[in-house]
């Protein structure tokens, strides 16, 4: 009967692995950067103070993910206005319920411009890594990743109150790395 016990253990491992495969979290927005320019993406960061530092840290976080083909950011050249790029800035907006947003301009499934806003009305009251969780989340959208539900401890969790306050996430997780590998890995 020892053999039956071993079979049961092997079966339980298989079920766990298969279940993880079925419930993987990452989603995409249905558009991605063409290659080129990916992985060489231009960015402009015109935020001030903490938001500026947080955005720079998040750019760095995304560049250093353990993916097959991670993004490689460089400052956008304003003399070349047609260069596809990501713009990040930080208005003061008490009129909305979000602390960050990305407008993704795409055509035929290809992203050509992303404008990220970090809402200073909220982020001015956040600690540094909480701002970083917002900038990192928006950069995830800028790369083509979609939102995740409140219950998931991942950077693409849609709510800062869960993503950071509950789960303490401010950098890309393996889930986001898997998403980037799907989009740009091969």
């Amino acid at each position: 009967m020892k053999i039956v016990r071993i079979i049961i253990i092997v079966e339980l491992v298989c079920i766990t692995l298969l279940s993880i495969g079925l419930v993987r979290g990452w989603t995409t927005i249905g558009a991605k950067w063409p290659s080129p320019p990916y992985p060489n993406l231009g960015y402009s960061n015109t935020c001030d103070g903490t938001e500026r530092e947080a955005a720079n840290s998040s750019l760095n976080d995304w560049e250093n993910i353990n993916a097959v083909n991670p993004p490689d950011f460089h400052p956008y050249d304003p003399d070349n206005p047609n260069e596809p790029h990501i713009s990040i800035w930080d208005p003061y907006r008490p009129d909305v319920r979000w602390d960050g947003r990305a407008i993704i301009w795409h055509h035929d499934g290809w992203i050509f411009f992303v404008e990220i806003q970090i809402n200073e009305y909220y982020t001015s009251t956040y600690e540094f890594n909480k701002v970083r969780s917002v900038t990192g989340h928006e950069l995830g959208h800028a790369l083509g990743l979609g939102d995740e539900s409140a219950s998931k401890p991942v950077l693409m969790n849609k709510y800062t109150s869960y993503r950071y306050d509950e789960f303490g996430i401010y950098q890309p997780t393996q889930d986001e790395v898997d998403g980037i590998n799907y989009l740009y890995g091969g």
Partner: protein, 241 residues
Amino acid sequence: MRRKLISNKSLLLIASLLGVLITLLLIIELTLPLEEKIKETLIHTTAPPTTSKGMVGVTTVSYVRAYTLKEAYDTADLVVLGRIIYSEHYVWKVKRPYRGKTLTFEEPYIYHRVKIIKVFKGNPISNIIIVAQFGGMTSRGLVLVPEDPPMEEEELVILFLCGPCERGDFVKYPGIEYCYMGVFGRFKVINDRVYSAMYFLPEEIGGIPCRKAAEDILKDLEGYKDVNGITIEKFLKLVKG
């Protein structure tokens, strides 16, 4: 003498059942289309944009927090039933210095005039109020928040409002302009029945799924699922808990 907790027969049965379960999981894994597993949530790449400018900028947001229906009601300063009588489209142009040049950003807004029919909470500053909604047409194309596409003139709505807003980079009418809580505080009234955004939004605009975007946000939050063609009285009972 040690007694066996599980008999050999039971072990064989468990092993067989687990084997069946693995087979089922394998079948699901192999037959589920890749697109379904990946869940491309926002953009139908097959549908062409239908706006006059030809482009749609999809807006994805990081919400500060989630609101149940009751929490949204409790947070609001003003809750009204009203009709949108006029929608003013406006694009803010913001310039930011960058490496010796200037970057220009366009921020589209719609400032709706809402004629109040009934007040459920708070005191409005007049019987026609201004409600600001982010989104609209820019020189690049339509900027759309999938779960909160533009409200339209003649729409009969129940809105959870905050304000009036005194200041903010995009506050056009300081002191008289209300902001609302987006997908958490926007309801449509059709034939005296109330619907939450997960039921009344159009399936898609310009190839962007709207109703599903609202459903993805609201379905797990208490209260919104029940706002599917209920009377205003029942709605009020629901929001007041």
